[in-house]
Structure formats: C-alpha cells, structure tokens
C-alpha cells in the first residue's frame, strides 16, 4: 500500500502540536522524513563530534527541546542514518519519540517543505513496496 495524501498531510500535522496519526504507514513516512532530514544535513563523512554539536545546538534552543531530545539516543539515530551506528537496542517507541522531537527541529522552512515532504513520501513508498 502506498503513502496516501492524508498521511502526507498527517506528517505536516505531526510537525504541529497535538497531531495524532500513528499507523504503520504513517510511522514509515515519519521515519522516511527523518532519513531525508538527516541526509540533507549530514553525509557519510560526518564525524560524531559534528552530530554531538548539532544535537547540543538544537537542545540548547529551548527547554522543551532539551527535555524531549535525549542527546545520546538522538546522536545515535542520526549516526545510524549518516553512518554505521547500530540502534537495534533502542525500542521502536523511543525511536519514534526521538524522530518526532528531532524532526520538529530539523524540517526545512516553508519554501522547501513541499519538496521535503515529497522526498519523504517517495522514500516511504519505496520502503513499503
């Protein structure tokens, strides 16, 4: 089953408070969005120290971000996409929570949002095919 327009809308809504749409397809879409966001910012040559400073910077921006984002977990999840970090020991629930928290801080501005969501949708469709 492909990603539906409603789920893309839900991804947009997830980036706003109080959104609630947690189907498997939607989780795939959210995870794909996280991959796209990480890939836009980091490369295979990214060092752990770059990721540590990036996560520190977004956590420093607000108490809410500092509370919601667990630094070690967030760094590992980014490095799993941009490097070879293994995150099999992190539960699906924690991964989901951290992806939501990180995505809130990593999504592009309005001008790039449509392309970003389209890329996430395409990747999620590939995973689900």
């Amino acid at each position: 089953m492909g990603i539906t327009g409603e789920q893309v809308a839900a991804l947009r809504a997830q980036l706003e408070p109080d959104a609630d749409e947690h189907s498997d397809d939607f989780r795939a879409l959210l995870s794909a969005a996280f991959h796209v966001a990480v890939r836009r910012r980091f490369t295979d040559r990214t060092r752990a120290s770059d990721v540590i400073e990036f996560v520190g910077e977004i956590r420093a921006e607000s108490t809410a971000a500092a509370t919601a984002i667990d630094p070690r977990t967030a760094e590992r999840m980014i490095l799993a996409v941009a490097g070879d970090e293994e995150v099999g020991d992190i539960t699906a629930g924690v991964r989901f929570e951290q992806q939501v928290a990180l995505l809130t801080e990593m999504i592009p501005g309005a001008g790039e949002l449509d392309a970003f969501v389209a890329d996430a949708r395409e990747l999620a469709d590939q995973w689900l095919a």
């Binding site: 752990a48 770059d50 540590i52 400073e53 996560v55 910077e57 956590r59 420093a60 500092a66 630094p71």
Partner: protein, 153 residues
C-alpha cells in the same frame, strides 16, 4: 578530617594532566588507609567554584547544554572517555553548581566522572597562570574544609 596536602597534590596533578602522578598518589593514599571522601569533596568544591567563575553572573540552561555538547564533541574522538560522560548528568551537575534546583539523582560514579571531566575543561577555559591556579586550589581547599566540618556535625 580536613583536606590533606596529598589530596591537594592529587587534584593539582589531575588538573595539570599529570595522570600518572595523580594515579600513583591515589594508590599510595588508598594503600595508606586513606578514603576518598575528602578528595570527593575537594573535587566538588573545585568544580563548583570553576563553574561559577565560568558561567556567572548570568547564565541559562541553553549555555549549559551547549557547553556540555562542546566538551563531548572534543572528547568525541576518544570513544572510551566520551562514553563515560553522561550528558544529562553533566548538564544537571553544572546547573546544580550554578544554583539550580536539584534534578533527578544520578549514579555516584557518573556524577564524579562528570565533575572531573567538567573540572578539567572549566579550568582550561579559565586560562589561569600558576598563581591563579594556586589561588583557585586554595579557595577550593578552604571551601572543602568548611563542607567537611559541616558534614562531621
């Protein structure tokens, strides 16, 4: 019991990066029947004094988060050391030293590691000369003695 000269020497060696000197002194201290309680208080007082010098008069939690992240990024290539430092413990310890309300209790080992590693970088950031370092250590010893006297009561 007040802080001893040997404990002062151990702390000074640690701050100066003379790890072998510090390790040998620690082993001699333990072999002589010494415990670690006074040294732990000395490290604590040094840490609080350096944290307050670095961050006051004004600070916010974002600065603390950035500082810990910077330290961890510096340690990033030294995998074993960077894994020892729990960022949430380090942030809580710094904020506590700066007067914030106590956060969730952490494992004592994680706390002492955070204080020691933060102390290293805080002292380095202060860029003290020998006289400045002697002054800092003397202030820390005086504060540690005061705290130890309170603890004995």
């Amino acid at each position: 019991m007040p802080v001893t000269d040997r404990e002062m020497m151990m702390l000074r060696a640690h701050i100066a990066g003379e790890d072998e000197v510090a390790r040998r002194a620690l082993l001699e201290h333990l072999a002589g029947g010494g415990d670690l309680s006074s040294l732990a208080v000395l490290v604590y007082s040094s840490f609080v004094i350096t944290a307050q010098r670095h961050f006051t008069p004004r600070w916010n939690s974002g600065q603390v988060v950035r500082y810990v992240a910077r330290l961890r990024a510096i340690l990033g290539d030294m995998t074993d050391t960077s894994q020892l430092l729990d960022p949430l413990v380090a942030e809580d310890e710094l904020q506590l030293a700066l007067g914030a309300e106590p956060a969730t209790p952490h494992r004592p080992f994680a706390v002492i590691i955070a204080r020691l590693l933060l102390l290293d970088v805080l002292v380095a950031d202060l860029r003290l000369d020998d006289a400045g370092l002697r002054s800092l250590l003397a202030e820390a010893r005086s504060e540690a003695d005061r705290l130890l006297a309170i603890m004995r009561c």
